[in-house]
Amino acid sequence: MTKLNDKIKTEVREVIYDFFAEECEVEIDEITDDSKIIADLGGDSLMFLALIEIFTKKYDQEIDLKTIGKYSIKHPVETIGELIEMQLQIIEHGNNIINLD
């Protein structure tokens, strides 16, 4: 459980944008919050897993991946903006993310 602040919000956004720019070999300027991860950027679900691992290490969290999986059934992620939002929820709530509406 981590209290979100502007620094964390900015870091998460930067890491996600940098990650997709490098992995999908696109210019960072071409990515927006509305970019669709699979359809527009050619991303894949392994990237989602990789990002979760990056952030759990960065914020020293112990997350049961299954809670994120269950949360994502109710809150599917399609765009970069949605992914940023989900990642912030994971950082803020940890395994309690499963209890969110």
Binding site: S45, L46, T67, G69, K70
Partner: protein, 302 residues
């Protein structure tokens, strides 16, 4: 610095410029398309990336993947980049064997066709396939299989939380559904009908072994090849015959193969094939190494 050539199984997604990259290096790729056409009786010379016949026909996909892999490894070796070790992911074994000079190019084509035909005979009348589960551990997947008595099994461990599963379609679909509700981040069926690395293909071992004995002259490898099944280092013809016959029905562990190569001191992995699927999987390995898919190989050639 130790270098490993790693060979993908089937191409499911192209980067897009693989043909241009190979054609710019030499005419080897075009020559191999011709050779494959002769060896298989299928026209590979008309191949282009967008042709659905080469995306949806399982056997053609396997053969074209083999052609890309062999062509790139030939180019690299001709330009002085030699491997210290080879590893084939699943059906990438055939290209690894070619690169180690264990088999000739057209022997690889014949092996692929025979393995495919024998596998098809073994599953005649059955709906089967393979799927992907991301976000669960091996133990969690096996727990679901046991609890629900599903006729499905893990085909490959790509990383601690990324697995391929295989078996009959109905239990496989049920496994994917249950995996998702258990908390998998993503599940999907693969575009293959053959349940590779499934015990239901065990009956292929005998006929495939007989075919190899009768028609293929396996040689000693120029470079050690790591087994995807048990991670032993193979060099002898006997090793390869065993690996070939077990590869169709035995479960593989790519994560373990990759870890062994890192322990052996490999720092550069060159993905010899189209696409970049092995680079993607390697994200979950920790260590000081780089994976170069085909579109990054130019950096090494300069």
């Amino acid at each position: 610095m130790k270098v490993a050539f790693i060979f993908p199984a089937f191409v499911s997604e192209y980067i897009g410029n693989e043909v241009q990259i190979l054609n710019a290096l030499s005419n080897k790729f075009q020559e191999n398309l011709k050779k494959a056409s002769v060896a298989s009786g299928v026209d590979f010379e008309s191949f282009h990336l967008e042709d659905s016949a080469f995306k949806e026909d399982e056997l053609r996909v396997q053969i074209i993947s083999y052609i890309f892999s062999c062509s790139l490894s030939d180019e690299l070796i001709a330009k002085g980049i030699k491997p210290d070790i080879l590893a084939g992911y699943s059906m990438g074994l055939y290209a690894a064997l070619y690169t180690g000079s264990v088999i000739e190019f057209d022997e690889g084509i014949r092996l692929i066709i025979q393995a495919f035909n024998i596998s098809q005979s073994a599953i005649q009348g059955m709906d089967s396939g393979m799927g992907s589960i991301i976000g669960l551990t091996k133990e969690e997947i096996n727990g679901i299989i046991l609890k629900h008595k599903l006729e499905a099994e893990i085909a490959n461990t790509s990383s601690a939380h990324s697995h391929l599963v295989t078996g009959r379609s109905e239990p496989l679909n049920r496994l994917l559904e249950l995996a998702r509700t258990t908390g998998a981040l993503h599940v999907s069926m693969l575009n293959v009908n053959t349940p590779y690395h499934a015990s239901m293909l065990k009956s292929t071992s005998g006929p495939f072994n007989e075919f190899i004995t009768a028609h293929i002259r396996l040689r000693k490898s120029k470079y050690p090849i790591i087994s995807s099944i048990d991670q032993r280092l193979m060099e002898s013809p006997e090793d390869f015959q065993k690996e070939l016959t077990e590869n169709l029905s035995g479960s593989i562990n790519w994560m373990a193969s990759f870890e062994i190569m890192l322990q052996l001191g490999v720092k550069q992995f060159i993905e010899c094939g189209a696409g970049n699927s092995l680079k993607k999987i390697s994200r979950f390995q920790s260590g000081d190494f780089k994976v170069y898919p085909m579109n990054k190989v130019e950096k090494l050639l300069k």
